[in-house]
Protein backbone atom coordinates (compact mmCIF):
# COMPACT_ATOMS: atom_id res chain seq x y z
CA UNK A 1 0.00 0.00 0.00
CA UNK A 2 2.84 2.41 0.84
CA UNK A 3 5.01 1.43 -2.08
CA UNK A 4 2.89 3.04 -4.82
CA UNK A 5 2.61 6.17 -2.71
CA UNK A 6 6.38 6.36 -2.31
CA UNK A 7 6.89 5.79 -6.02
CA UNK A 8 4.49 8.60 -6.73
CA UNK A 9 6.33 10.94 -4.41
CA UNK A 10 9.66 10.06 -6.03
CA UNK A 11 8.27 10.56 -9.52
CA UNK A 12 6.69 13.83 -8.46
CA UNK A 13 10.03 15.08 -7.17
CA UNK A 14 11.88 13.89 -10.27
CA UNK A 15 9.63 15.70 -12.74
CA UNK A 16 9.17 19.26 -11.54
CA UNK A 17 8.15 20.47 -14.98
CA UNK A 18 4.91 18.37 -14.97
CA UNK A 19 1.53 19.66 -13.83
CA UNK A 20 0.88 20.07 -10.12
CA UNK A 21 -2.03 18.42 -8.35
CA UNK A 22 -3.36 20.02 -5.17
CA UNK A 23 -5.78 17.63 -3.43
CA UNK A 24 -8.10 18.50 -0.61
CA UNK A 25 -10.80 16.65 1.31
CA UNK A 26 -13.96 17.93 2.98
CA UNK A 27 -13.17 16.32 6.34
CA UNK A 28 -9.75 15.31 7.62
CA UNK A 29 -11.24 13.75 10.72
CA UNK A 30 -14.48 11.81 10.73
CA UNK A 31 -16.07 11.46 14.13
CA UNK A 32 -18.00 8.26 14.69
CA UNK A 33 -20.38 9.19 17.48
CA UNK A 34 -23.93 8.48 18.60
CA UNK A 35 -26.25 8.93 15.64
CA UNK A 36 -23.48 8.33 13.06
CA UNK A 37 -25.02 6.81 9.96
CA UNK A 38 -22.05 7.06 7.62
CA UNK A 39 -20.31 9.99 5.98
CA UNK A 40 -20.07 11.47 2.51
CA UNK A 41 -16.48 12.39 1.73
CA UNK A 42 -15.98 15.14 -0.81
CA UNK A 43 -12.53 14.98 -2.40
CA UNK A 44 -11.64 17.95 -4.57
CA UNK A 45 -8.67 19.86 -5.85
CA UNK A 46 -7.02 21.62 -8.73
CA UNK A 47 -4.52 20.71 -11.43
CA UNK A 48 -2.32 23.42 -12.86
CA UNK A 49 0.93 23.67 -14.77
CA UNK A 50 3.88 25.00 -12.71
CA UNK A 51 3.15 28.42 -14.26
CA UNK A 52 -0.35 28.35 -12.80
CA UNK A 53 -2.14 27.80 -16.11
CA UNK A 54 -4.77 25.16 -16.86
CA UNK A 55 -3.31 21.99 -18.38
CA UNK A 56 -3.61 22.25 -22.17
CA UNK A 57 -5.24 18.91 -22.93
CA UNK A 58 -7.85 16.57 -21.46
CA UNK A 59 -6.92 14.14 -18.71
CA UNK A 60 -8.69 11.72 -16.38
CA UNK A 61 -8.83 11.66 -12.61
CA UNK A 62 -8.86 8.55 -10.43
CA UNK A 63 -9.29 8.80 -6.65
CA UNK A 64 -8.45 5.84 -4.41
CA UNK A 65 -9.53 5.89 -0.75
CA UNK A 66 -8.05 3.13 1.35
CA UNK A 67 -8.77 2.26 4.98
CA UNK A 68 -6.47 0.65 7.56
CA UNK A 69 -5.04 -2.72 6.43
CA UNK A 70 -5.95 -5.78 8.49
CA UNK A 71 -4.98 -9.42 8.46
CA UNK A 72 -7.99 -11.53 7.52
CA UNK A 73 -8.96 -15.15 7.04
CA UNK A 74 -11.25 -15.85 4.10
CA UNK A 75 -13.16 -19.10 4.37
CA UNK A 76 -14.99 -20.94 1.65
CA UNK A 77 -18.05 -23.09 2.31
CA UNK A 78 -18.38 -26.38 0.51
CA UNK A 79 -20.99 -29.07 0.72
CA UNK A 80 -19.67 -31.96 2.79
CA UNK A 81 -22.11 -34.86 3.23
CA UNK A 82 -25.00 -32.57 2.34
CA UNK A 83 -24.06 -29.85 4.81
CA UNK A 84 -22.42 -26.55 3.88
CA UNK A 85 -19.36 -26.16 6.09
CA UNK A 86 -16.24 -24.00 5.98
CA UNK A 87 -13.97 -26.36 4.10
CA UNK A 88 -11.07 -24.26 2.81
CA UNK A 89 -9.45 -21.04 3.88
CA UNK A 90 -6.81 -18.57 2.88
CA UNK A 91 -5.06 -15.81 4.84
CA UNK A 92 -4.26 -12.33 3.66
CA UNK A 93 -1.89 -10.04 5.50
CA UNK A 94 -3.24 -6.68 4.38
CA UNK A 95 -6.83 -6.43 3.29
CA UNK A 96 -7.91 -2.80 3.67
CA UNK A 97 -10.92 -2.28 5.93
CA UNK A 98 -12.28 0.14 3.36
CA UNK A 99 -11.46 0.59 -0.31
CA UNK A 100 -13.13 2.84 -2.84
CA UNK A 101 -12.12 3.86 -6.32
CA UNK A 102 -13.78 6.80 -8.05
CA UNK A 103 -12.88 7.82 -11.58
CA UNK A 104 -14.03 10.14 -14.34
CA UNK A 105 -14.64 7.16 -16.66
CA UNK A 106 -14.10 3.38 -16.43
CA UNK A 107 -10.51 2.68 -15.36
CA UNK A 108 -10.07 0.11 -18.15
CA UNK A 109 -10.31 2.97 -20.67
CA UNK A 110 -7.84 5.17 -18.78
CA UNK A 111 -4.82 2.93 -18.11
CA UNK A 112 -3.61 -0.56 -18.99
CA UNK A 113 -3.76 -3.40 -16.47
CA UNK A 114 -0.06 -3.05 -15.55
CA UNK A 115 -0.36 0.59 -14.53
CA UNK A 116 -3.68 -0.11 -12.83
CA UNK A 117 -2.11 -2.80 -10.66
CA UNK A 118 0.92 -0.61 -9.79
CA UNK A 119 -1.37 2.11 -8.42
CA UNK A 120 -4.18 -0.23 -7.25
CA UNK A 121 -6.71 1.53 -9.48
CA UNK A 122 -9.60 -0.89 -9.00
CA UNK A 123 -10.98 -3.72 -6.89
CA UNK A 124 -9.42 -6.35 -9.14
CA UNK A 125 -5.98 -4.78 -8.62
CA UNK A 126 -5.98 -4.83 -4.81
CA UNK A 127 -2.69 -6.02 -3.29
CA UNK A 128 -3.86 -8.33 -0.52
CA UNK A 129 -0.51 -10.02 0.34
CA UNK A 130 -1.58 -13.65 0.76
CA UNK A 131 0.18 -15.58 3.52
CA UNK A 132 1.51 -19.09 3.02
CA UNK A 133 0.56 -20.46 -0.36
CA UNK A 134 2.11 -18.69 -3.34
CA UNK A 135 -0.12 -20.39 -5.90
CA UNK A 136 -2.13 -17.64 -7.63
CA UNK A 137 -4.67 -20.17 -8.93
CA UNK A 138 -5.43 -21.09 -5.30
CA UNK A 139 -5.53 -17.50 -4.00
CA UNK A 140 -7.57 -15.89 -6.78
CA UNK A 141 -11.01 -17.31 -5.86
CA UNK A 142 -10.48 -16.32 -2.21
CA UNK A 143 -9.42 -12.81 -3.20
CA UNK A 144 -12.53 -12.50 -5.38
CA UNK A 145 -14.66 -13.90 -2.54
CA UNK A 146 -13.18 -11.35 -0.14
CA UNK A 147 -13.86 -8.46 -2.52
CA UNK A 148 -17.44 -9.66 -3.18
CA UNK A 149 -18.08 -10.01 0.57
CA UNK A 150 -16.75 -6.52 1.30
CA UNK A 151 -18.79 -5.09 -1.59
CA UNK A 152 -21.95 -6.57 -0.09
CA UNK A 153 -21.03 -4.96 3.23
CA UNK A 154 -20.67 -1.63 1.41
CA UNK A 155 -17.01 -1.37 2.42
CA UNK A 156 -15.48 -1.81 -1.04
CA UNK A 157 -16.78 -0.01 -4.10
CA UNK A 158 -15.91 1.30 -7.52
CA UNK A 159 -17.70 4.15 -9.23
CA UNK A 160 -16.53 5.08 -12.73
CA UNK A 161 -18.73 8.19 -12.83
CA UNK A 162 -18.02 9.66 -9.42
CA UNK A 163 -15.39 12.21 -10.54
CA UNK A 164 -16.31 15.39 -12.40
CA UNK A 165 -13.68 17.68 -13.93
CA UNK A 166 -14.53 21.32 -14.65
CA UNK A 167 -12.57 23.48 -17.13
CA UNK A 168 -9.58 21.11 -16.96
CA UNK A 169 -8.67 22.70 -13.61
CA UNK A 170 -10.98 21.61 -10.83
CA UNK A 171 -12.08 18.11 -10.05
CA UNK A 172 -14.35 16.73 -7.40
CA UNK A 173 -15.35 13.25 -6.27
CA UNK A 174 -17.82 11.97 -3.74
CA UNK A 175 -17.18 8.78 -1.81
CA UNK A 176 -19.70 7.38 0.65
CA UNK A 177 -18.52 5.76 3.88
CA UNK A 178 -21.13 3.44 5.45
CA UNK A 179 -21.75 3.43 9.22
CA UNK A 180 -19.74 0.21 9.53
CA UNK A 181 -16.40 1.81 8.47
CA UNK A 182 -13.51 0.64 10.61
CA UNK A 183 -11.72 3.29 12.64
CA UNK A 184 -8.15 4.20 11.84
CA UNK A 185 -6.00 6.08 9.35
CA UNK A 186 -7.19 6.41 5.77
CA UNK A 187 -5.36 7.65 2.73
CA UNK A 188 -6.94 9.29 -0.30
CA UNK A 189 -4.69 9.28 -3.37
CA UNK A 190 -5.61 11.27 -6.44
CA UNK A 191 -4.08 10.54 -9.85
CA UNK A 192 -4.28 12.72 -12.96
CA UNK A 193 -3.76 10.44 -15.94
CA UNK A 194 -3.33 11.16 -19.64
CA UNK A 195 -2.68 8.62 -22.39
CA UNK A 196 -2.14 5.85 -19.88
CA UNK A 197 0.53 7.77 -17.96
CA UNK A 198 0.21 9.28 -14.49
CA UNK A 199 0.81 13.04 -14.95
CA UNK A 200 0.54 14.08 -11.35
CA UNK A 201 -0.69 12.72 -8.08
CA UNK A 202 -1.35 13.83 -4.56
CA UNK A 203 -2.18 12.24 -1.25
CA UNK A 204 -4.35 13.38 1.64
CA UNK A 205 -4.94 11.67 4.94
CA UNK A 206 -8.19 11.13 6.79
CA UNK A 207 -8.70 9.82 10.27
CA UNK A 208 -11.83 7.96 11.35
CA UNK A 209 -12.24 8.05 15.12
CA UNK A 210 -14.89 7.07 17.62
CA UNK A 211 -15.89 10.06 19.73
CA UNK A 212 -17.97 10.83 22.81
CA UNK A 213 -20.33 8.15 24.02
CA UNK A 214 -19.48 5.63 21.31
CA UNK A 215 -15.79 5.96 22.17
CA UNK A 216 -16.46 5.63 25.89
CA UNK A 217 -18.46 2.43 25.41
CA UNK A 218 -15.98 0.84 23.00
CA UNK A 219 -13.07 1.79 25.24
CA UNK A 220 -14.67 0.46 28.44
CA UNK A 221 -15.72 -2.78 26.73
CA UNK A 222 -12.16 -3.37 25.59
CA UNK A 223 -10.18 -2.23 28.65
CA UNK A 224 -12.50 -2.60 31.64
CA UNK A 225 -14.32 -5.85 30.91
CA UNK A 226 -15.25 -6.59 34.53
CA UNK A 227 -16.82 -3.20 35.30
CA UNK A 228 -18.42 -3.11 31.87
CA UNK A 229 -19.97 -6.56 32.32
CA UNK A 230 -21.25 -5.64 35.81
CA UNK A 231 -22.76 -2.51 34.27
CA UNK A 232 -24.56 -4.56 31.61
CA UNK A 233 -25.86 -7.00 34.25
CA UNK A 234 -27.01 -4.19 36.57
CA UNK A 235 -28.78 -2.48 33.69
CA UNK A 236 -30.64 -5.59 32.58
CA UNK A 237 -31.62 -6.64 36.12
CA UNK A 238 -32.78 -3.10 36.97
CA UNK A 239 -34.84 -2.74 33.81
CA UNK A 240 -36.50 -6.13 34.23
CA UNK A 241 -37.21 -5.42 37.89
CA UNK A 242 -38.61 -1.91 37.29
CA UNK A 243 -40.86 -3.15 34.48
CA UNK A 244 -42.08 -5.98 36.70
CA UNK A 245 -42.89 -3.57 39.56
CA UNK A 246 -44.59 -1.02 37.32
CA UNK A 247 -46.85 -3.51 35.64
CA UNK A 248 -47.56 -5.58 38.75
CA UNK A 249 -49.59 -2.62 40.07
CA UNK A 250 -51.60 -2.11 36.88
Amino acid sequence: MLLPAMLVLLCGAAAPEGPVLVPEVSQHVIHVEQGFTGADLLLYGAILTPEGQPVDSDYDIVVVVEGPPRAVVVREKRQVAGVWVNAASSRFRSAPGFFAVASSRPVAGIVDARTASIYELGLSFLQLSPIGSIDPAHEAPFARGLVAHMQRMGLYHEDPQAVTISHRVLYQARIALPSSVPTGDYTAETFAIRQGRVLASGITRIRVDKQGFARLIADRAEHAGLAYGLCAVALSVAMGWIAGRLFARV
Binding site: V74, L146, A148, H149, S179, R215, L226, A232, W241
Partner: protein
Protein backbone atom coordinates in the same frame (compact mmCIF):
# COMPACT_ATOMS: atom_id res chain seq x y z
CA UNK B 1 -34.42 6.73 14.72
CA UNK B 2 -30.79 6.00 13.84
CA UNK B 3 -28.67 4.60 16.62
CA UNK B 4 -24.97 3.78 16.34
CA UNK B 5 -23.95 0.55 18.06
CA UNK B 6 -20.40 1.14 19.31
CA UNK B 7 -19.37 -2.51 19.67
CA UNK B 8 -21.17 -3.90 16.61
CA UNK B 9 -19.74 -0.90 14.65
CA UNK B 10 -22.98 -0.33 12.84
CA UNK B 11 -25.85 2.15 12.62
CA UNK B 12 -29.25 0.55 13.03
CA UNK B 13 -32.82 1.73 13.20
CA UNK B 14 -33.43 1.82 16.96
CA UNK B 15 -37.15 1.22 16.58
CA UNK B 16 -36.52 -2.02 14.67
CA UNK B 17 -34.34 -3.29 17.53
CA UNK B 18 -36.90 -2.23 20.17
CA UNK B 19 -39.58 -3.99 18.10
CA UNK B 20 -37.44 -7.10 17.93
CA UNK B 21 -37.00 -6.98 21.70
CA UNK B 22 -40.75 -6.55 22.13
CA UNK B 23 -41.45 -9.57 19.92
CA UNK B 24 -39.14 -11.83 21.92
CA UNK B 25 -40.39 -10.28 25.17
CA UNK B 26 -43.92 -11.17 24.14
CA UNK B 27 -42.79 -14.77 23.65
CA UNK B 28 -41.07 -14.85 27.03
CA UNK B 29 -44.11 -13.44 28.79
CA UNK B 30 -46.46 -15.86 27.06
CA UNK B 31 -44.40 -19.02 27.24
CA UNK B 32 -41.81 -18.50 29.96
CA UNK B 33 -38.90 -18.88 27.54
CA UNK B 34 -36.20 -16.23 27.22
CA UNK B 35 -36.68 -15.65 23.51
CA UNK B 36 -32.93 -15.65 22.83
CA UNK B 37 -33.40 -18.37 20.22
CA UNK B 38 -35.25 -15.78 18.13
CA UNK B 39 -33.24 -12.64 19.00
CA UNK B 40 -29.82 -13.96 18.04
CA UNK B 41 -30.68 -15.20 14.52
CA UNK B 42 -32.77 -12.10 13.76
CA UNK B 43 -29.96 -9.78 14.88
CA UNK B 44 -27.48 -11.66 12.70
CA UNK B 45 -29.93 -11.42 9.82
CA UNK B 46 -30.06 -7.65 10.42
CA UNK B 47 -26.28 -7.40 10.01
CA UNK B 48 -25.03 -7.51 13.61
CA UNK B 49 -21.85 -9.63 13.91
CA UNK B 50 -22.77 -13.09 15.33
CA UNK B 51 -20.65 -12.84 18.50
CA UNK B 52 -22.04 -9.40 19.36
CA UNK B 53 -25.56 -10.68 18.70
CA UNK B 54 -25.15 -13.69 21.02
CA UNK B 55 -23.40 -11.66 23.75
CA UNK B 56 -25.98 -8.87 23.77
CA UNK B 57 -28.97 -11.20 23.52
CA UNK B 58 -27.83 -12.84 26.76
CA UNK B 59 -28.34 -9.61 28.72
CA UNK B 60 -31.76 -9.20 27.14
CA UNK B 61 -32.72 -12.64 28.42
CA UNK B 62 -31.52 -11.59 31.89
CA UNK B 63 -33.89 -8.62 31.84
CA UNK B 64 -36.79 -10.67 30.55
CA UNK B 65 -36.35 -13.37 33.21
CA UNK B 66 -35.99 -10.99 36.20
CA UNK B 67 -39.64 -9.96 36.40
CA UNK B 68 -40.82 -13.51 35.71
CA UNK B 69 -38.55 -14.97 38.39
CA UNK B 70 -39.71 -12.33 40.90
CA UNK B 71 -43.35 -13.09 40.20
CA UNK B 72 -42.76 -16.80 40.72
CA UNK B 73 -40.71 -16.17 43.88
CA UNK B 74 -43.63 -14.26 45.42
CA UNK B 75 -45.89 -17.24 44.80
CA UNK B 76 -43.31 -19.70 46.19
CA UNK B 77 -42.78 -21.22 42.76
CA UNK B 78 -39.00 -21.58 42.97
CA UNK B 79 -37.10 -24.54 44.39
CA UNK B 80 -33.99 -22.63 45.52
CA UNK B 81 -32.07 -25.77 46.38
CA UNK B 82 -32.64 -27.22 42.93
CA UNK B 83 -32.03 -23.77 41.43
CA UNK B 84 -28.68 -23.46 43.18
CA UNK B 85 -27.53 -26.84 41.83
CA UNK B 86 -28.65 -25.87 38.32
CA UNK B 87 -26.92 -22.47 38.55
CA UNK B 88 -23.70 -24.09 39.79
CA UNK B 89 -23.76 -26.41 36.79
CA UNK B 90 -24.70 -23.52 34.52
CA UNK B 91 -21.77 -21.35 35.57
CA UNK B 92 -19.35 -24.23 34.97
CA UNK B 93 -21.11 -24.77 31.64
CA UNK B 94 -20.60 -21.17 30.51
CA UNK B 95 -16.89 -21.52 31.25
CA UNK B 96 -16.71 -24.71 29.17
CA UNK B 97 -18.81 -23.01 26.50
CA UNK B 98 -16.34 -20.13 26.32
CA UNK B 99 -13.45 -22.55 25.78
CA UNK B 100 -15.41 -24.45 23.14
CA UNK B 101 -16.33 -21.14 21.48
CA UNK B 102 -12.65 -20.17 21.17
CA UNK B 103 -11.66 -23.60 19.91
CA UNK B 104 -14.37 -23.66 17.24
CA UNK B 105 -13.58 -20.09 16.25
CA UNK B 106 -9.95 -21.02 15.70
CA UNK B 107 -11.04 -23.99 13.60
CA UNK B 108 -13.39 -21.80 11.57
CA UNK B 109 -16.36 -24.00 12.38
CA UNK B 110 -18.22 -21.80 14.86
CA UNK B 111 -21.00 -20.68 12.44
CA UNK B 112 -21.68 -24.19 11.22
CA UNK B 113 -21.71 -25.54 14.78
CA UNK B 114 -24.11 -22.86 16.00
CA UNK B 115 -26.42 -23.43 13.03
CA UNK B 116 -26.31 -27.20 13.47
CA UNK B 117 -27.10 -26.84 17.19
CA UNK B 118 -30.05 -24.62 16.32
CA UNK B 119 -31.40 -27.10 13.76
CA UNK B 120 -30.98 -30.14 16.00
CA UNK B 121 -32.25 -28.59 19.24
CA UNK B 122 -35.02 -26.43 17.88
CA UNK B 123 -36.05 -29.09 15.39
CA UNK B 124 -36.36 -31.90 17.91
CA UNK B 125 -37.87 -29.82 20.72
CA UNK B 126 -40.23 -28.05 18.32
CA UNK B 127 -41.42 -31.40 17.00
CA UNK B 128 -41.87 -32.85 20.50
CA UNK B 129 -43.81 -29.78 21.61
CA UNK B 130 -45.97 -29.80 18.49
CA UNK B 131 -46.86 -33.48 18.92
CA UNK B 132 -47.52 -33.07 22.63
CA UNK B 133 -49.67 -29.95 22.28
CA UNK B 134 -51.60 -31.34 19.30
CA UNK B 135 -52.41 -34.37 21.46
CA UNK B 136 -53.52 -32.09 24.27
CA UNK B 137 -55.71 -29.99 21.97
CA UNK B 138 -57.27 -33.13 20.52
CA UNK B 139 -57.85 -34.60 23.99
CA UNK B 140 -59.62 -31.42 25.06
CA UNK B 141 -61.78 -31.43 21.91
CA UNK B 142 -62.82 -35.07 22.23
CA UNK B 143 -63.14 -34.89 26.00
CA UNK B 144 -61.08 -38.04 26.47
CA UNK B 145 -58.50 -38.03 29.22
CA UNK B 146 -54.99 -38.87 28.06
CA UNK B 147 -53.29 -41.88 29.65
CA UNK B 148 -51.38 -40.95 32.78
CA UNK B 149 -47.58 -41.07 32.66
CA UNK B 150 -46.20 -44.19 34.18
CA UNK B 151 -42.87 -43.14 35.59
CA UNK B 152 -41.77 -40.06 37.54
CA UNK B 153 -38.30 -39.57 36.15
CA UNK B 154 -35.90 -41.15 33.75
CA UNK B 155 -34.35 -44.44 34.93
CA UNK B 156 -30.84 -43.05 34.32
CA UNK B 157 -31.54 -40.28 36.83
CA UNK B 158 -32.60 -42.83 39.43
CA UNK B 159 -29.38 -44.81 38.94
CA UNK B 160 -27.05 -41.90 39.85
CA UNK B 161 -25.37 -42.12 43.27
CA UNK B 162 -25.60 -39.74 46.29
CA UNK B 163 -29.26 -38.79 46.60
CA UNK B 164 -30.55 -35.49 47.98
CA UNK B 165 -34.04 -34.52 49.02
CA UNK B 166 -35.48 -31.62 47.01
CA UNK B 167 -38.62 -30.86 49.04
CA UNK B 168 -40.27 -28.27 46.81
CA UNK B 169 -39.68 -30.30 43.67
CA UNK B 170 -40.94 -33.40 45.45
CA UNK B 171 -37.84 -35.35 44.49
CA UNK B 172 -35.29 -37.63 46.10
CA UNK B 173 -32.60 -37.81 43.42
CA UNK B 174 -28.88 -37.35 42.93
CA UNK B 175 -27.85 -33.68 42.50
CA UNK B 176 -25.58 -34.81 39.67
CA UNK B 177 -28.56 -34.95 37.28
CA UNK B 178 -29.57 -31.28 37.64
CA UNK B 179 -25.88 -30.32 37.77
CA UNK B 180 -25.26 -31.92 34.37
CA UNK B 181 -28.46 -30.40 33.00
CA UNK B 182 -27.34 -26.97 34.23
CA UNK B 183 -23.93 -27.44 32.63
CA UNK B 184 -25.50 -28.34 29.30
CA UNK B 185 -27.75 -25.29 29.24
CA UNK B 186 -24.85 -23.08 30.36
CA UNK B 187 -22.78 -24.24 27.41
CA UNK B 188 -25.65 -23.65 25.02
CA UNK B 189 -26.23 -20.18 26.46
CA UNK B 190 -22.62 -19.25 25.80
CA UNK B 191 -22.58 -20.73 22.29
CA UNK B 192 -26.00 -19.76 21.01
CA UNK B 193 -27.02 -16.70 23.01
CA UNK B 194 -30.13 -18.46 24.25
CA UNK B 195 -31.39 -18.78 27.80
CA UNK B 196 -32.07 -22.47 27.39
CA UNK B 197 -35.54 -22.35 28.91
CA UNK B 198 -37.05 -24.36 26.11
CA UNK B 199 -34.60 -27.17 26.86
CA UNK B 200 -34.63 -26.77 30.63
CA UNK B 201 -38.41 -26.85 31.10
CA UNK B 202 -39.05 -30.12 29.21
CA UNK B 203 -35.96 -31.70 30.78
CA UNK B 204 -37.10 -30.74 34.28
CA UNK B 205 -40.55 -32.15 33.60
CA UNK B 206 -39.76 -35.33 31.73
CA UNK B 207 -36.19 -36.26 32.72
CA UNK B 208 -36.00 -35.08 36.33
CA UNK B 209 -39.72 -35.40 36.96
CA UNK B 210 -39.98 -32.19 38.97
CA UNK B 211 -43.26 -31.00 40.40
CA UNK B 212 -45.08 -28.86 37.80
CA UNK B 213 -45.66 -25.98 40.24
CA UNK B 214 -41.95 -25.14 40.55
CA UNK B 215 -40.70 -25.94 37.03
CA UNK B 216 -41.18 -22.56 35.33
CA UNK B 217 -40.07 -20.51 38.34
CA UNK B 218 -36.93 -22.60 38.93
CA UNK B 219 -36.12 -22.53 35.22
CA UNK B 220 -36.38 -18.70 35.19
CA UNK B 221 -34.21 -18.59 38.33
CA UNK B 222 -31.52 -20.66 36.61
CA UNK B 223 -31.76 -18.66 33.36
CA UNK B 224 -31.43 -15.40 35.28
CA UNK B 225 -28.15 -16.39 36.89
CA UNK B 226 -26.69 -18.27 33.94
CA UNK B 227 -27.32 -15.37 31.53
CA UNK B 228 -25.67 -13.06 34.05
CA UNK B 229 -22.67 -15.40 34.08
CA UNK B 230 -22.73 -15.47 30.27
CA UNK B 231 -22.79 -11.68 30.01
CA UNK B 232 -19.81 -11.50 32.37
CA UNK B 233 -17.97 -14.23 30.45
CA UNK B 234 -18.49 -12.38 27.16
CA UNK B 235 -17.51 -9.04 28.72
CA UNK B 236 -14.25 -10.59 29.95
CA UNK B 237 -13.32 -12.80 26.99
CA UNK B 238 -14.91 -11.73 23.69
CA UNK B 239 -15.55 -8.06 24.67
CA UNK B 240 -18.62 -8.34 22.46
CA UNK B 241 -21.41 -7.08 24.75
CA UNK B 242 -22.93 -4.01 23.11
CA UNK B 243 -24.54 -1.95 25.87
CA UNK B 244 -26.48 0.20 23.41
CA UNK B 245 -27.85 -2.82 21.57
CA UNK B 246 -28.67 -4.58 24.86
CA UNK B 247 -30.50 -1.48 26.20
CA UNK B 248 -32.65 -1.21 23.07
CA UNK B 249 -33.50 -4.91 23.22
CA UNK B 250 -34.25 -4.61 26.95
CA UNK B 251 -36.66 -1.69 26.54
CA UNK B 252 -38.61 -3.72 23.99
CA UNK B 253 -38.47 -7.02 25.80
CA UNK B 254 -39.46 -5.91 29.32
CA UNK B 255 -42.52 -4.18 27.85
CA UNK B 256 -43.25 -7.11 25.55
CA UNK B 257 -42.92 -9.54 28.45
CA UNK B 258 -45.65 -7.75 30.39
CA UNK B 259 -47.95 -7.75 27.38
CA UNK B 260 -47.16 -11.44 26.84
CA UNK B 261 -47.94 -12.35 30.47
CA UNK B 262 -51.29 -10.59 30.08
CA UNK B 263 -52.08 -12.47 26.85
CA UNK B 264 -51.02 -15.77 28.37
CA UNK B 265 -53.81 -15.51 30.95
CA UNK B 266 -56.41 -15.18 28.18
CA UNK B 267 -55.29 -18.00 25.89
CA UNK B 268 -55.52 -21.76 26.34
CA UNK B 269 -52.15 -23.20 27.42
CA UNK B 270 -52.10 -26.08 24.91
CA UNK B 271 -52.84 -23.68 22.03
CA UNK B 272 -50.03 -21.43 23.29
CA UNK B 273 -47.61 -24.35 23.30
CA UNK B 274 -48.66 -25.24 19.75
CA UNK B 275 -47.97 -21.66 18.59
CA UNK B 276 -44.56 -21.71 20.30
CA UNK B 277 -43.79 -25.08 18.67
CA UNK B 278 -44.57 -23.58 15.25
CA UNK B 279 -42.28 -20.56 15.85
CA UNK B 280 -39.47 -22.83 17.07
CA UNK B 281 -39.87 -25.11 14.03
CA UNK B 282 -39.88 -22.11 11.64
CA UNK B 283 -36.51 -20.93 13.01
CA UNK B 284 -35.14 -24.48 12.73
CA UNK B 285 -36.29 -24.79 9.10
CA UNK B 286 -34.76 -21.42 8.18
CA UNK B 287 -31.43 -22.54 9.69
CA UNK B 288 -31.64 -25.93 8.00
CA UNK B 289 -32.07 -24.29 4.60
CA UNK B 290 -28.83 -22.35 5.15
CA UNK B 291 -27.00 -25.57 6.03
CA UNK B 292 -28.41 -28.04 3.56
CA UNK B 293 -29.68 -26.08 0.58
CA UNK B 294 -27.82 -22.83 0.12
CA UNK B 295 -25.81 -20.75 2.58
CA UNK B 296 -26.22 -16.97 2.65
CA UNK B 297 -22.60 -16.53 1.65
CA UNK B 298 -20.04 -18.96 0.25
CA UNK B 299 -17.09 -16.81 1.33
CA UNK B 300 -16.87 -15.36 4.82
CA UNK B 301 -14.23 -12.98 6.12
CA UNK B 302 -12.87 -12.90 9.66
CA UNK B 303 -10.58 -10.11 10.82
CA UNK B 304 -7.70 -11.37 12.92
Amino acid sequence: MDVYLPIANLAVNGLVIVGLGALTGLLSGMFGVGGGFLTTPLLIFYGVPPTVAAASAASQVTGASVSGALAHARRGGIDYQMGAVLVAGGVVGTGLGALLFQLLQALGQIDTTINLLYVILLGSIGTLMAVESLGAVRARRTGLARPARRRRHHPLVASLPMRWRFYRSGLYISPLAPLLLGMLTGMLTMLMGIGGGFILVPAMLYVLGMSVTVVVGTSLFQILFVTIATTMMHALTTHAVDLVLASLLLVGSVLGAQAGAFLAQKAKPDVLRLVLAMIVLAVAVRMALGLGWQPDEIFTVVVQ
